[in-house]
């Protein structure tokens, strides 16, 4: 089978170079298409992940459980300290429980007085976390509920306590949640006692900073941060976390949701969001009386929709 090597090699080398050039060009064209028409490519990506990842669930689940068991086993070794700590916390919690019960009764009385009915549309779907984003630069998780369960893009996602993120990318049986810590996440929030509005913008760190605060002097570490519902994207008054001052003296938010253990997440069925079809108009000062003022909060939007 000994062939003269130089013959075909001399001939194929330029051809090969052209083919590789075409291949690289094709890949760059894919990137350009993504840059120009991102929603279509992202839908394709969601569909691809939707086909692939649920097939791996049988293997993902036992490995995840095994890792969880190892974690639990490590915590056995510190059981005495944990016990002491829990006792202390229990003491504090008892005081809080008393306060909560009283407040609950008071709240029920006030609601009764005002004849408030909670919005029946604000129900939720619970999903299990299937997979992580897989990249250290992106913070997202994949849930096992999708378009089949009525999940829509943009809905808020919470764990038992606080806001976790927002749905972005829905497949037939899976949906991706962009976490608040992702560098693409921007959520309008309100800082509680002072009522200052701000934007919570993720920056790939565990405590995202508050941006566009009007008067940072009024905000103190420990203040409660909740969603403001501005722009009609999120329901208002979902707990996000507490203000804390970072080492760089920026105001950051310590998130209430337990990001270490995201297992079951609640997707809040929000009102129908207007689909984003165009890249948005020019941002300019509104013409007097030509444009209606933006609704103040999500409740007003809901009233207009329903």
């Amino acid at each position: 089978m000994a062939k003269d090597r130089s013959g075909p090699e001399e001939f194929t080398r330029p051809l090969r170079r052209i083919l590789v050039g075409v291949l690289v060009l094709l890949l760059l064209v894919v990137f350009l298409i993504w840059r120009i028409d991102s929603p279509r490519v992202e839908r394709f990506r969601a569909a691809l992940i939707d086909r692939l990842v649920p097939n791996m669930e049988w293997a993902l689940l036992p490995v995840t459980k095994a890792a969880g068991m190892m974690d639990d086993f490590q915590s056995y070794t510190r059981i005495y300290e944990q016990n002491q700590e829990l006792r202390r916390e229990l003491q504090q919690m008892k005081a809080w429980k008393e306060a909560a019960l009283q407040l609950e009764q008071k709240n029920a009385r006030l609601l009764d007085l005002n004849q408030v009915r909670l919005d029946p549309k604000l129900t939720h779907v619970t999903g299990v976390v299937l997979a992580d984003s897989g990249s250290p630069f992106r913070q997202s998780v994949l849930l096992n509920v999708g378009a089949r369960d009525g999940i829509r893009d943009g809905w808020a996602t919470m764990d038992g306590i606080g806001l976790v993120g927002r749905i972005s990318g829905v497949g037939q049986t899976t949906a991706r949640v962009i976490l608040l810590t992702d560098s693409n996440s921007r959520i309008p929030v309100i800082v509680q006692p002072s009522g200052q509005k701000a934007l919570l913008s993720g920056d790939n760190s565990s405590a995202p900073p508050l941006e566009f605060l009007e008067k940072p002097d009024l905000v103190r570490p420990g203040d409660r941060v909740v969603t403001s519902g501005d722009g009609g994207v999120f329901p208002a008054d979902l707990l996000v976390g507490q203000v804390a001052q970072g080492t760089d003296r920026r105001l950051r938010v310590r998130l209430s949701a337990d990001y270490e253990r995201l297992e079951f997440l609640r997707v809040l069925r929000s009102h129908d969001l207007p689909p984003i079809t165009d890249p948005g108009g020019v941002v300019a000062p509104p013409l007097p009386a030509a444009l209606p003022a933006l609704p103040e909060d999500a409740a007003a939007v809901e009233g207009a929709d329903g």
């Binding site: 890949l27 993902l60 630069f137 693409n184 565990s206």
Partner: protein
């Protein structure tokens, strides 16, 4: 052409795809997301560069393109860009296979480190040109440094597990040609 050497080529190509799948599987395990943790090495990149330097005929450009494009899509990266850069880098090393065969490992390591740094800078440059948000430079650099540090281990493991090494002097390929 059912000779054993030809079979080994396909076996290693299969092993490459399998390794890529296993790496992907372990990266998406939902073990709690910890934002701001130091990023680990890009092992797939290490494998590609190490194998292309050793035996360019085991990894055709098309296979590299497909596997990295799939990784782009699955790991929420902009699709195509990283794949294109990795194909260019592998072609660069492939055309210098005759040169790197003569080099000692330290020099090869330096060369690979340079290629990895160039990949990082090129990737970030295109991100900047396309006005895409990107993670901080130091943060991305940590990953590249981790990859550079992992490279000797990847080389050693592929040598131990798959007997992947540079062709020795006077070794002949499946067709009896001198390599």
């Amino acid at each position: 052409m059912a000779d054993p050497v030809r079979g080994k080529v396909w076996l290693l190509r299969g092993a490459f795809v399998g390794l890529a799948l296993v790496l992907f599987f372990f990266r998406i395990l939902p073990l709690g997301s910890d934002a701001g943790k130091w990023p680990g090495p890009d092992l797939l990149l290490c494998i590609i560069l190490a194998w292309v330097t050793r035996r360019p005929d085991y990894l055709p450009a098309l296979l590299i393109a497909f596997v990295v494009l799939a990784e782009d899509l699955l790991l929420m990266r902009p699709p195509g860009l990283w794949a294109a850069l990795v194909v260019v880098a592998s072609e660069f090393l492939r055309s210098r296979a005759a040169l790197t065969r003569e080099l000692s490992f330290i020099v090869e390591w330096l060369l690979i480190s340079g290629v990895m740094l160039a990949l990082l800078l090129g990737y970030r440059l295109v991100f900047a040109i396309a006005f895409l948000p990107q993670p901080g430079f130091g943060f991305a650099m940590v990953q590249t440094i981790a990859s550079i540090l992992c490279y000797p281990f990847v080389v050693g493991l592929s040598w131990l597990a798959l007997n992947l090494r540079k062709p020795a002097m006077g070794e002949v390929d499946a067709y009896g040609r001198r390599m």
